[in-house]
């Protein structure tokens, strides 16, 4: 990571060059497990964004107080606190989605994407840069999940956010059931990562 990057750069890198799911291949578990519909993907992305922003904020504020040898413990505690808040919030206000996503909201605690941001950015940088980074990563994560969710929901159920987009008569009998099942998650992720790599390579050659 370059020593001096501006906040805007730091924000953009999370969405494009360091996109957590599609480039760094971090946080694969939720990316595979809860992207069978756009709604689940959005809620998951929102929850993870909230956690990474808050954890980066707290870690950055505490960075001069944290002793190096206990830093992972502090990160985990901070993350766990905000994951619990997010989990209870979803249970209170979005109960159905919370039921659908199940254990994957609590599992944000062990999402390596978030601890990676604390370790790489927040512990070493000021609040502004840490927040910019967290928003970038969070949005990058949400967009990747959204991409997978859109592809999988449209092909697998013929709907987009539960609105019918593909002809219902055809899709009632011909839905690609595989797309909302686990194999569809792996196939979609593989194809999307392949396309992203292809475009990145082409960008490099062109530049």
């Amino acid at each position: 990571m370059a020593a001096e990057t501006g906040n805007l750069e730091q924000f953009k890198t999370g969405i494009l060059d360091n996109n957590p799911v599609l480039v760094q291949l971090l946080g694969m578990c939720p990316a595979l497990a809860v992207t069978n519909s756009v709604e689940n993907a959005l809620v998951m992305g929102g929850a993870a964004t909230f956690v990474v922003v808050m954890s980066n904020l707290i870690t950055s504020l505490l960075r001069n107080l944290i002793k190096p040898h206990v830093r992972i413990l502090i990160f985990t505690l901070t993350i766990a606190t905000f994951v619990t808040i997010a989990d209870l919030f979803l249970k209170a206000y979005l109960f159905k989605v919370s039921q659908a996503i199940g254990a994957f909201i609590p599992l944000i605690i062990v999402n390596c994407m978030i601890i990676c941001r604390a370790e790489v950015v927040a512990i070493k940088n000021g609040v502004g840069k840490s927040l910019a980074d967290a928003f970038g990563i969070g949005i990058g994560f949400t967009l990747s999940l959204l991409t997978l969710g859109i592809i999988r929901e449209i092909l697998g159920s013929g709907t987009f956010l539960n609105y019918q987009v593909l002809p219902k008569t055809v899709w009632d009998t011909h839905a690609w059931i595989i797309m909302i099942l686990p194999p569809g998650a792996f196939l979609t992720l593989g194809v999307v990562v392949g396309v992203v790599n292809y475009m990145r390579e082409r960008g490099k050659v062109g530049a």
């Binding site: 009998t173 011909h174 690609w176 059931i177 099942l181 196939l187």
Partner: protein
């Protein structure tokens, strides 16, 4: 063969790079049997003709439509893959995609929607072959990858069998009919032995007639296109397993001849298990591969949720091929070579 000297040599030169006097300078082998991909694929297609003929008689138009659809899908994916990888289109013309498409078509039920068949052909080539680097590099049999995709994608369509003209009674437009394996799993009345051999039963396009598959398969083995080891080991293992099950519980399980002539057993043993790329190279490895497929087919048929298990058996053994290869690699003359 020592690795050091071999690595120093340049790779075999193509013909057009022959020396000034037309002498071909290349590393061994110097004698070639003239077996090109194109010729082998042509022989395989030739061997599939009896099956296709029978499918045509049994299922009429749907045999043609499905075969054309899968082959078109396979070729489209192959061409698209070459285009994306900026390769020349030679692999479209070598016939391997046509064989993949044909094998896939023969393992589909006749009542399937042609659009699904097209999709299966595309997915089989794209996800089963192109992503691994094209012909020769695939881990799994592309036709079976395509079928597995369809099986999970459209589970209902893949297990509904509608018999056509020769089977239905006069005056009836269409009836549905259980495949022999489904009948066996549900302990219903089984079709007669002659029906199984000839193929006058329900089932996928190319799997109903055991005789047609046997004729094509023996042709492949005699012509040296397919190794005899996989089919022999496969049919022997499956037969022994089925017979033992029959002896233990004669009421629940029909015997070896039923299992060997029903479902995809004959067709798969000769046409799918003998695929060059997914199977081991070593002779003993091929025997183990065949036996493994035979065993898995019978395990899935007798104890699994699906009435037929050929596709999954092939895919599982494909994934075990590297392990089999490692165990069966022969020691070269002169002692063990440290890898």
């Amino acid at each position: 063969m020592s690795d050091a000297t071999n690595a120093a040599k340049p790779a075999a030169l193509p013909i057009k790079d022959a020396g000034p006097r037309g002498f071909l300078v290349s590393s061994p082998p110097h004698l070639a049997a003239g077996a090109t991909t194109q010729r082998i694929m042509f022989e395989v297609l030739l061997a599939m003709l009896p099956l296709f003929g029978f499918a045509l008689y049994m299922f009429r138009l749907s045999a043609i439509v499905l075969t054309v659809a899968t082959i078109a899908g396979a070729l489209a994916a192959e061409a698209l893959g070459n285009l994306m990888r900026k390769r020349d289109q030679s692999s479209v013309y070598d016939g391997s995609a046509i064989v993949t498409g044909a094998i896939l078509a023969f393992s589909l039920p006749p009542s399937l929607n042609p659009y699904m068949a097209f999709l299966g052909g595309m997915v089989g080539i794209a996800l089963g072959k192109i992503v691994f680097g094209g012909i020769g590099n695939n881990l799994f049999n592309p036709a079976m990858v395509g079928r597995a995709f369809l099986m999970i994608c459209f589970p209902a369509a893949l297990v509904s069998f509608t018999p056509t003209a020769p089977m239905t009674a006069a005056g009836v437009d269409a009836t549905t009919m259980a495949t022999p394996l489904y009948a066996a799993a549900k302990q219903m009345d089984l079709p007669s032995m002659s029906a199984l051999w000839l193929g006058n039963t329900g089932g996928c396009l190319g799997e109903t007639s055991a005789i047609a598959a046997l004729i094509g398969g023996l042709y492949l083995v005699i012509r040296g296109v397919a190794d005899w080891r996989q089919p022999l080991a496969l049919l022997l293992t499956a037969g022994i397993f089925a017979q033992i099950a029959h002896w233990i519980a004669p009421d629940a399980h029909p015997g070896a001849t039923f299992h060997l002539t029903s479902g995809a057993m004959m067709f798969g043993a000769f046409f799918i298990a003998t695929d060059y790329v997914g199977a081991p190279v070593n002779p003993w490895g091929r025997l183990i591969f065949g036996a493994g497929v035979g065993l898995l087919v019978m395990v899935i048929r007798l104890f699994g949720a699906y009435p037929e298990g050929f596709m999954f058996a092939i895919l599982i053994m494909n994934s075990l091929t590297p392990v089999i290869e490692r165990v069966t690699t022969p020691t070269p003359f002169g002692g063990k070579v440290e890898a």
